[in-house]
């Protein structure tokens, strides 16, 4: 195996580091934007689904825990979770929630809202997370609010993915992962344009 292969296989470490950093200092949640932007840019610029296939730390983490550590029950996903409408529906829901989070950020930026220093799990439950807000005056409040919102999104989807990993097959999250759906859509559009 080449060196090239070995570092690619270690991307799951970044996933673990990301969630650990966000536990201690929420501003590191901004790093998660890489998981949003990189796959989209890669699929737009001809790398197809290379992110999902080789670089996605979360996918590797699920494989490692599910297949390697045998934490997965390896059952088939129910048909409705695999269906196209659920995949696209979840993507749209996820994007609406992302925009909703941008509005909360905008509210702080425009001075009409106050900081909510909690991580909102499943878009519903506020978990107190004040200790991670330790940047002080050096970072604008809106950036901290965005970090809280983004970390909420990332942690919620990680928990969903872990539950899917345990109950179903290791990489069941990949079936309805919004980034996976988006990159596959981009690839389909690119292919249609090419033909």
């Amino acid at each position: 195996m080449s060196m090239n292969k070995s570092w690619k296989d270690k991307m799951w470490i970044f996933s673990v580091i990301y969630f650990s950093l966000g536990f201690f200092n929420i501003i590191f949640a901004w790093l998660g934007m890489l998981c949003f932007i990189t796959p989209i840019l890669m699929s737009i610029f001809g790398k197809e689904k290379a992110f999902c296939n080789s670089y996605c730390g979360r996918g590797q983490l699920f494989t490692l825990l599910g297949s390697g550590k045998k934490m997965s029950l390896n059952r088939n996903l129910p048909a409705f979770l695999k269906s196209r409408w659920f995949r696209y529906g979840f993507f749209i829901f996820f994007m609406i929630m992302f925009v909703n989070m941008l509005f909360a950020t905008w509210a702080i930026f425009s001075g009409s809202g106050s900081l909510n220093a909690s991580v909102r799990l499943f878009w519903t439950f506020d978990v107190p997370w004040e200790w991670a807000n330790r940047t002080g005056e050096s970072v604008p409040l809106w950036a901290i609010q965005f970090a809280y919102g983004f970390y909420s999104l990332m942690l919620t989807s990680l928990i969903l993915g872990l539950l899917s990993m345990i109950i179903y097959k290791p990489r069941s999250w990949c079936v309805y992962c919004p980034m996976g759906t988006a990159t596959q859509m981009i690839c389909k559009i690119r292919e249609e344009e090419r033909l």
Binding site: C52, N53, N76, C174, C177, Q184, I186, C187
Partner: protein, 104 residues
Amino acid sequence: MTLSVLFPVPYVTRSRTYGLIGAIKCETADIGCDHMATSIEKRKKARILRDNCVACGACVNVCPVNSVSIYKGIWADVDPEKCIGCSKCEKICPASAITMEVPE
């Protein structure tokens, strides 16, 4: 497969024998194939159900002979020439987009 157990010899093309009665292992046992030996022609191979495939690449990573690739980021593609029918990809596929079938 039943036939190959009962009458292993004519059906076995390139397998190793372990014992006398039908205990014949696939020639690909070293790389994880747990099939009983059967002729290359009769062996099941992975087939992709393209409508279900999400192109996540789980099958690519698990294939012991690198017979799976992702076509243009849209769906997985199996090279039937390389596929040894070990069904590892079928077991890992989260979208149940792989079936094992004897090629026509």
